[in-house]
């Protein structure tokens, strides 16, 4: 978070984290396509030749003036592939909130749990207490024919009291609700800290 008193700007960083192919980039593509172009930046994607996220995707949202303050929301994704651990850590650093995108595909439970634990490990190493850190969980691909019930995945991951959003991001379902929830959660956290 960066607050610029002279410009009256509040800059926030929200990171979409999760296992490979869970739909992190799809979330940003949907947001980019549905937000008024005056209120967003271009979508930047650093990809491999195989069209997979190599480093990060980036999209900035501008909420306009609210009570004389201009919040700018920076959305990032991390690369999901196993061998990009260093990149994930770099992107996650400095985040004000996280959207964890879990995959409801029947073979994805272990990958979800591994990424979830891995993310917690990084947050703790940054000196952040995960239990009090703004975080929401999106359970994506609910539209798959053999999708696991999201409640079961949430239990296995020990998501506990985190806000949960079943989604079909490719169709845009759940994307907006997830984004709204994480922005609200981040703002509540900031309000608690400094208002």
């Amino acid at each position: 978070m960066l607050i610029n008193w002279k410009l009256r700007e509040l800059n926030l960083k929200i990171v979409y984290y999760g296992p490979a192919f869970s739909g992190k980039t799809t979330n940003l593509i949907q947001i980019h396509s549905k937000v008024d172009s005056q209120k967003r930046s271009e979508l930047i994607s650093l990809k491999t030749q195989e069209d997979r996220t190599l480093y990060f995707d980036f999209l900035q949202l501008e909420l306009g003036k609210i009570n004389g303050l201009t919040p700018k929301i920076h959305l990032y994704t991390v690369p999901g592939q196993a061998n990009y651990e260093s990149s994930r850590r770099l992107v996650l650093h400095g985040a004000d909130g996280v959207v964890f995108v879990a995959d409801l595909g029947e073979d994805s439970l272990a990958a979800n749990i591994k990424a979830w634990k891995n993310m917690h490990g990084h947050l703790i190493s940054f000196g952040i207490v995960p239990a009090s850190f703004p975080m929401v969980v999106q359970f994506n691909k609910k539209d798959l024919p053999k999708a696991m019930p999201y409640e079961r995945v949430a239990d296995q991951m020990q998501v506990n009291g985190r806000p949960k959003f079943p989604a079909a991001a490719l169709q845009g379902e759940g994307v907006q609700d997830t984004l709204r929830a994480i922005i609200q959660s981040v703002m509540q956290n900031i309000t608690r800290q400094i208002a």
Binding site: W5, Q60, L63, P71, H120, Q184
Partner: protein
């Protein structure tokens, strides 16, 4: 999963940064002075998370500043990680890209800031590098505060939460 349940405010406060009006003015002065002295085509100062503080110049018509700052911060973070992994890490690292028509400099400016400059290739490389490192050093001395210094920002103002919710809903077509 073992996870501390108690919030440690000190830990959470470490990652927030405030730029005071005086600091913002000083950053603008350093950046504009560097641009004039070099002379540079373009200057940008951002924080290490890619939030833009100052930019000035032309020739960037196709680049949004938010996107550029995010990429620069990512570029520097990756360069530093490469340096760390290969045992070549040093403070105030400078990444130089020498081009046929332009040279670009990406400089770590302390623990908080990133300085980017683009100059024409006619500008002597050593001169530009010297000035970038000097400006980076000046910026590095400007420690951003993690304490609120300028009073409340309006988070508790009338209807802030409702106005925020409306702004979020207003994002969508």
């Amino acid at each position: 999963m073992n996870e501390p349940q108690e919030q440690n405010p000190t830990q959470l406060m470490q990652k927030r940064a405030f730029v005071t009006p005086a600091q913002q003015s000083a950053i603008e002065k350093i950046a504009l002075s560097l641009k004039a002295k070099t002379p540079a085509r373009f200057i940008l100062v951002a924080d290490r998370n890619g939030h833009v503080l100052v930019f000035s110049g032309d020739g960037m018509a196709n680049a949004g500043m938010a996107e550029l700052a995010a990429l620069l911060a990512g570029d520097l973070a990756a360069s530093q990680e490469i340096a760390r992994l290969t045992g070549a890490f040093q403070q105030q690292q400078l990444v130089l890209r020498e081009g046929e028509k332009q040279n670009t400099f990406l400089c770590e400016a302390g623990s908080d800031l990133v300085l980017f400059m683009q100059s024409d290739s006619e500008v002597p490389l050593g001169w530009a590098r010297l000035l970038v490192l000097e400006a980076g050093g000046q910026l590095a001395k400007m420690q951003l505060s993690s304490d609120e210094q300028e009073g409340p920002m309006g988070f508790n103002g009338d209807g802030f939460k409702q106005n925020l919710d409306e702004a979020i809903d207003g994002l969508w077509h």
